[in-house]
């Protein structure tokens, strides 16, 4: 059974602006106590479109059972990080830049489970062409 990963962002609507502080809570449920071997939380951007996918990690945190009291990685955990000036969220014709918070849980027997929580960086829709704007809606 897949673990249930919950992510909550604060003040992220309609969009974060460069320099804003991203505050995030995450929690892992529906999994036995000793099942999780490590948890990685990251704030990252990635590209999507015609080209190969690029990824840029802005914030990264890896936790092991030895790093927490009682070795339980399931309880609620918070982190915060100031967001950079770029790249801003963008929807173009052959290139899209997405931002997200990603929580990845490493389980026993090499199993993994992750969840993305997308958000927008930039207080406007960064598409200079009308098609892009229409595509965002």
């Amino acid at each position: 059974m897949e673990p249930l990963i919950s992510i909550q962002l604060f003040d992220h609507l309609p969009a974060y602006r460069p320099g804003d502080v991203l505050k995030c809570d995450y929690q892992i449920d529906a999994v036995a106590e000793g099942e999780i071997q490590a948890v990685e939380a990251s704030v990252l951007w990635y590209t999507e479109g015609k080209g190969d996918e690029d990824i840029g990690v802005h914030f990264f945190e890896r936790r092991m059972p030895a790093d927490v009291e009682e070795g339980d990685l399931r309880p609620l955990k918070s982190f915060s990080t100031p967001l950079p000036n770029s790249p801003l969220t963008y929807v173009g014709q052959i290139l899209t830049v997405h931002w997200c918070v990603r929580v990845r849980a490493f389980l026993r027997q090499g199993r993994e489970s992750f969840m993305d929580y997308p958000f927008r960086l930039g207080d406007q829709l960064n598409g200079v062409n009308n098609e892009s704007d229409a595509a965002i809606g």
Binding site: E48, K50, G51, V57, N85, S86, Y90, I94, Q124
Partner: protein, 345 residues
């Protein structure tokens, strides 16, 4: 992950028909095979040196050459195997974070604040280190003409050299009574191609010599959406132009792999005419010079560059001569996001 194994795979956006895990596993298996073969071969070479009778051994030089070659193969196999195992055991985010950390210890990083303040926006040193005479900065030109000129020149000379050898050979053999008709007949189409190439070469040469340097200067850099800027264009040379256009363009560029091929694609997503002049006569003592305004849309995306994707802004100057081919010269400009924040990430 794909349900069925396929030799030919497809990619659309983020979706692929193949499994990256299976691909990494396959690569690891190849490297492991290479390492095992190299170790076995090395063992055989050393055993031959130690155990074989003296007259049946490899010569000393051959032994060392074989040892070095097999050792290199073993090194490649071991490095590849370790890196693929590392890939299988770490997440993309962790690898990205390590790469980011490694980039952060660049000794020059402190002297290049723009890269840290604006991640994934290209460095702007070369765009602002050339002061202008009419406006603040002169833009560097992303030139294509010298390469075209060189390519056409080399091709024309090579073709003419081959044609020359063919003509001399055909003439020489004909004079001694040995008519080589296939060679003689081949000279006619080759001569036609040589004439066409020479015409192209002369046209390019004329364009190079008649169209003088193009200078574009801007009132400030980097550009910020929603702000007005001035642009100054100066075009020198000796030429009659039907039209001269200045355009601000934004291109998305993508690099992607299809099997072992690396391909690229570009898509123009924005184009705005800044200036258009008709029927111009440019002379040595009277270069064309004009100033115009530029304003980026408020929702314009900033310049962007990552390993396989980019967004480039350029000022493109396009001329259509009364005689000869059109010419185009592009000048890169840098666009930063609207909201400027000096807090470092």
């Amino acid at each position: 992950m794909s349900r069925k194994f396929r030799i030919w795979q497809k990619k659309r956006g983020r979706r692929r028909t193949g499994s990256p895990t299976a691909a990494t596993f396959g690569e690891a298996a190849i490297y492991a095979g290479m390492l095992m073969a190299a170790v076995a071969a090395l063992g055989a070479v050393i055993a031959d040196r130690v155990l074989a009778p003296a007259d049946a051994r490899l010569p000393l030089m051959g032994f060392w050459v074989a040892t070095v070659v097999i050792g290199l193969l073993a090194g490649i196999g071991a490095t590849g195997l370790i890196s693929r195992l590392w890939l299988m055991r770490t997440s993309a985010e962790r690898r990205g974070a390590l790469a980011q950390k490694a980039a952060g210890i660049d000794l020059l990083a402190d002297q290049l604040p723009s890269t840290r303040d604006f991640p994934s926006i290209p460095r702007d040193e070369h765009l602002i280190n050339s002061p202008g005479t009419n406006l603040k900065y002169r833009l560097p030109r992303s030139s294509t003409l010298p390469w075209e000129f060189l390519a056409v020149g080399v091709l024309t000379l090579s073709w003419c050299a081959v044609l020359g050898v063919g003509i001399v050979t055909a003439t020489h053999t004909s004079l001694v009574g040995n008519w080589r008709w296939p060679l003689i007949m081949m000279m006619f189409p080759m001569s036609g191609i040589a004439f066409w190439l020479t015409y192209r070469f002369l046209a390019t040469l004329r364009r190079v010599t008649r169209v003088g340097p193009t200078n574009v200067e801007v009132s400030n850099q980097p550009f910020v959406p929603g702000v007005d800027y001035d642009i100054h264009l100066s075009q020198a040379g000796r030429i009659l132009l039907r039209s001269l256009k200045v355009t601000l363009v934004c291109d998305e560029e993508a690099i992607f792999r299809e099997g072992t091929d690396v391909r690229s694609e570009s898509r123009r997503v924005f184009e705005e005419r800044l200036l258009e002049m008709k029927s111009l006569e440019i002379t040595d003592d009277r270069p064309f010079s004009m100033k115009c305004g530029l304003s980026l849309p408020g929702n314009a995306m900033h310049s962007f560059r990552s390993a396989s994707n980019a967004i480039h802004w350029r000022v493109v100057v396009e001329g259509l001569p009364r005689y000869g081919d059109r010419f185009e010269r592009a000048f890169s400009v840098l666009v930063h996001p609207t909201r400027v924040n000096n807090g470092r990430s």
